[in-house]
Symmetry: D3
Subunit: 283 residues, 6 copies
């Protein structure tokens, strides 16, 4: 159980869901242990947040456990998406713990945002990788089938096809050196889904991830992005954390989840406005 | 390069092939790093084997590198099998380094043995696992479509369906406590493929594997089995080694490969007799 | 959740309770992570046990989670004991996951056995250690205040005072070399509590423990002891597992818990007979 | 022995004392190994400091070894304080290696400073934690019973009660983003005790600590704080280093100790002026 | 094989050569595993570089494997230098993977540059260390016998003799805080050899090295230095990476090698102009 | 300090000396950390030995610390030998902690035994290795220049030249399977030096060593050999322990040292009789 998730699932405003999918990682596997690593290394965090003057335990967060993964990613996403849509229908914000980045697709499908903001070293805009269109290297491309626009913050690598796709109007790439400026100007006109691929951070900050990519974001840049974007959000995830470091990646992941909840809750007394996009059919 | 593999691929009597498939591991992933871990930890072994009075470097072993894996196991097996069949057609014995146990199927398909002898904690006799018939938990079942009989040495766990299947005539289960006796009586009447799933060993001996299963074989039992079976063999593999220990599993895996080659070479001056089953079509 | 604990707490025949007490470990701390490490590394075990022809998921095992620990061991034991006594009053067998060995006292107090059988490298018969009578090094001494006799299986070290105490009639010491013989003659005339201090095993088998002591039991000796003693038991624990190895100690601990349940359940269709010693007051 | 501590204890100007207390760590234990880890990872540092043109071996530093810890923190602090007071009475500056942060209390008691400056992620201003007033989470609160004022540099988390206490006049909180500014204005009007809780650093810089807290100080910020404060100091410690990373935390801890000694020695030809507060009774 | 080294050795413009010398490391050994660690952790990097619009696989890079090391450093350097000179004579740029820093001498000898630019925490200007003039702590001093000038970027420690030597005209020391300024003014009037001692980086960035020295360069500073200097270079190395972290040092080392190749290739359509200093005798 | 070494150096009957030489290890380096790892992992052992009814702290053991190593092995051996000879001249038994196996030569030179008994996987009978006659792979050959006979217990690998040398009269090879028998018949007619190369043990028992060699001795076989040989000994060492496992190799090494002292002390009330071979010149 993620520390401080004292709410009942049905009464919750936020619901943590673990999604330990780990089938397409190309380099270092282990993200299947990500959800439990994040839960473990969030243990020492204080309940109280001084900046927003809130207690995590009073913000209505529940932990629904993991949706057990198997090796058919597409089928898994469908199933996971259903679980997350139930969360949305219960007027709660899903907080997804990956697992590989692929699982963000389920989060997006369930929350139906206008914009996908993603902290990531990689563009993840491939149409397929090794013949697999559900590879973690394709997730932002898949997500663009659902959302109106994608912003990849901290991106620093990709294939020519990905960079070409990134030049289209519905994609914004914010390289690490432009993050502060982008944050200063950030303004959202519709519901956002925020996805934190932990490899957006520099490997010194988050070595426990499948594909370390040097020259990344600092932990405070990650934090400031989460704080800035959270108020506009209908869904959130932290993905690509594995168990191959001494807890740095998981500690950061768990902290960013808490920063998300504090910032989101502080900005609205009520459940997030989803623009009517994710209503239960028949509602 | 596996240490001591000084032969040219074309002139070799034994060819090491890495098969870093790592898609169906249910618990701890990382067997994709198995081939290189085994190569690394075989570094300190002496070239000379006192028991058989042979030099490894004089036994005609080549290292053909890895057959890069992707996440479609069935397609990969077909491709890998082709690579291994080329080895067989060149009158050499393939020495496969996994990767997950699934890759043994390709080894068997390429060498077409009569008998599949396998050191393994698990029966691996499932028809499918989580809907996947090419899971490592099904490999011996798949292999039984090709061979006449399977012997699972060191087996100590399985599902009821697996145990039921194991009672049929074409399967022999040798529990850890019966290994010495079985070895004493071992006699082969046809070509054998020997597969070493490193989890056949006790976790104290080989902790670096995907699914540790206590109460397993000692390293000397593993060695004695390899020595006894090798002379009858047309193919060999070591699988399920990962990078999650301090080198114990890889060190054992590399040593058993060498024991295989020493024992096999000592028993025959020429290339192994494959009973005419794996001839190149048209030869 | 310990894998396979599908029963509801109230309807369960066996209840797993984590007790992450970690205050008196003299050398390598970390046994606070023991319960979750054991749960994690029990993941890959098959549900079905061939020897007893039983499914773990059909044996009525629940996981009640952890009883959060703090640094007042004596107060914690009182609280923990209450939790475990509830389990007993519900006619279930408590399966305690340590945590340091001290927690066994709570298990004993809750189950009120006649005999305490303990696998341990150490006598744990000190009256106090560094002024602390609730140190893990004193647990068997404390337990002797409650039970009629203690048997320390695999014991190989202690202070002179401990060895002297061990010579009294109510203590039996079974050194590692005598375990097979002792098991052959084991017969119980009253309810037993079985405690597995994982350091009873040789460090090669269970390096992840607070005070490794070489020349210990093999994993099969541990298993055979658990199988032999389990039928007589009213309570069970695995203690002193920490997170400082590659999973070997936790994997063994989780396996022994399963062996306990299989053996105990196979020996009795009903809940264990506790000789009327642990009845709820007023029942 | 800390590298370069070539002075005799009696003739020393600085005395290293290890204090491996490790009883109240709430999350990851192991700080008992802190003193030896710091000694080990200080091995490769050059004797010569270019900035101050001094040799560490010529600055009169002795290593008095460890004061062995046991689990009664309060009694231990009394004993440790006596050892450190002896150092002070011998006109030397104690350099304490923790161990948990609690040990700073003994350092403060022995040196009787006017001001307690502390690098820490946490306020450590609780009155008690889990009923324990000698928890590491209470150390700055305890210290405030002895000193006139406390400054917590790098603080970023605490309970509401801690933040409330922090608003009183005798406490200054310097958040990470204000450290440079605070350092620029730092001026001391009385003896200072400087305590480095290594978790003041960002987890990327010092992952080997009991309670990682993201968004912390960089190593150069830590260094600049030590350099600025050292000249005013009568005592120093580095605490909360454990053995759970690859040496980063220990390497930083040992380096900061050296920076302290270089800066302190460079600022005064003689032993530090303690304002007459810590004189031996009867002197 | 370093990922993406698809060129044939004879036709290559760049040749990777591993030099696993590991005999003089004073603190943490293991740099013998550096070449293979770097190759492994370079696996996930994209082939395409967006900044320079180039594919690594199209830049003519070959991997010639390792030059096996033994414990006579001086003899090894002679041999290694021969191997590297062959690379130079074939009009290719050697890319050396250490091994200890000593191996840079062979790179310099083979490429005969005018200037030696080196990222390093240490001056490496000793005449000998423990009586050994071929210690890694002497490499820049040795190199100064061959080149006209040396620049040590990121240097922050050394002995008085080293600092004195550094004040001579042929040595420039760029402390970490002056790197940006130095880069802005960098201009080369002759061939340069660029050596990356990974300990130039802060230990948070590259913990896996023999002698961590806090307060070092960030990964982007390292990158910017490589990008700026590469166009002037006739040779390059990454040294002092070992296997004692979670891949951070190796990942950075492999990335910097790629940055070097991208920047070097982008600046010249042809092989580097070596100023006629390294011509094959008789050419 | 090795735990329990309470004697003063001058008054001691046994003197621990660390010899962290680590220059010729061919595979995994790190034995320089061996002495401190052994001291650390010997911490939890009881002072009292039940078998011999002795307290370690009463047996007169001192720890003289380490003889700092440098990279000229031959010069180091001369220096180390002098230190050890001082121990012998003070009528104490040296207990050497390696460091690579080479250091045994210094122990032998200082104690001048008739017989060298060595637990080792390797024959170590090479005349030179990579041109180095002081490689750890040559130590038993070097020792044979000093002693009358060598017995290599647990040996299982070597070059043809080594096996040939081993057939001469002054060498006895006891393979792992013959150890029990050899121990039963062991009888010494002159002073013995006992060297424990920890790689004599199976890698499951002692993974933390430079060159793991499977199929080795169990920990109890190692112990029984030490107990049997100790009474005849004038010197003892434990070598080839490094820091690359979770403490298993060091824990075993420290335990065997204690077993040696208990067994040696129990067999003689006085200092060992060295047959007059190691008298101080002029005595
Ligand atoms: Mn991604
Ligand atoms: Mn990514
Ligand atoms: Mn298998
Ligand atoms: Mn298996
Ligand atoms: Mn115990
Ligand atoms: Mn114990
Ligand atoms: Mn603190
Ligand atoms: Mn703190
Ligand atoms: Mn250097
Ligand atoms: Mn350096
Ligand atoms: Mn040896
Ligand atoms: Mn050896």
């Amino acid at each position: 159980m993620f520390p401080g998730t004292t709410a009942e699932r049905d009464a919750a405003d936020y619901v943590v869901v673990g999604a330990p999918l780990d089938v397409s990682t190309t380099f270092q596997p282990g993200t299947r242990f990500g959800p439990d690593e994040i839960r473990k290394f969030a243990e020492p965090y204080d309940d109280y947040d001084h900046r927003t003057d809130q207690f995590f335990t009073e913000l209505g967060v529940a932990d629904a456990g993991d949706v057990r993964a198997w090796d058919d990613a597409e089928a898994y996403l469908t199933f996971l998406s259903g679980t997350l849509r139930d969360v949305v229908w219960d007027d709660a914000v899903p907080l997804l713990l990956g697992g590989e980045h692929t699982v963000s697709y389920a989060g997006v499908e369930a929350t139906d945002p206008k914009t996908f903001v993603c902290l990531d070293a990689h563009l993840d805009l491939r149409t397929e990788y090794d013949g697999n269109e559900w590879s973690h290297a394709c997730v932002t491309r898949r997500v663009l089938d659902v959302v109106d626009e994608a912003v990849v913050v901290g991106a620093r690598t990709g294939s020519p096809e990905e960079w070409e796709r990134a030049e289209e109007e519905d994609v914004t790439v914010v390289p690490p050196e432009s993050v502060r400026e982008w944050l200063a100007g950030f303004d959202s006109d519709g519901p956002v889904y925020l996805s934190v691929d932990i490899d957006g951070a520099d490997p010194s900050v988050a070595p426990g991830t499948g594909t370390m990519e040097p020259f990344g974001l600092s932990s405070t840049q990650m934090r400031d992005a989460v704080r800035a974007v959270a108020p506009a959000c209908v869904g959130f995830d932290v993905v690509e954390v594995n168990d191959r470091d001494d807890g740095q990646a998981a500690a950061l992941g768990g902290k960013l989840l808490r920063e998300f909840v504090y910032a989101h809750a502080a900005s609205s007394g009520s459940a997030p406005d989803d623009g009517g996009r994710a209503d239960r059919p028949g509602d």
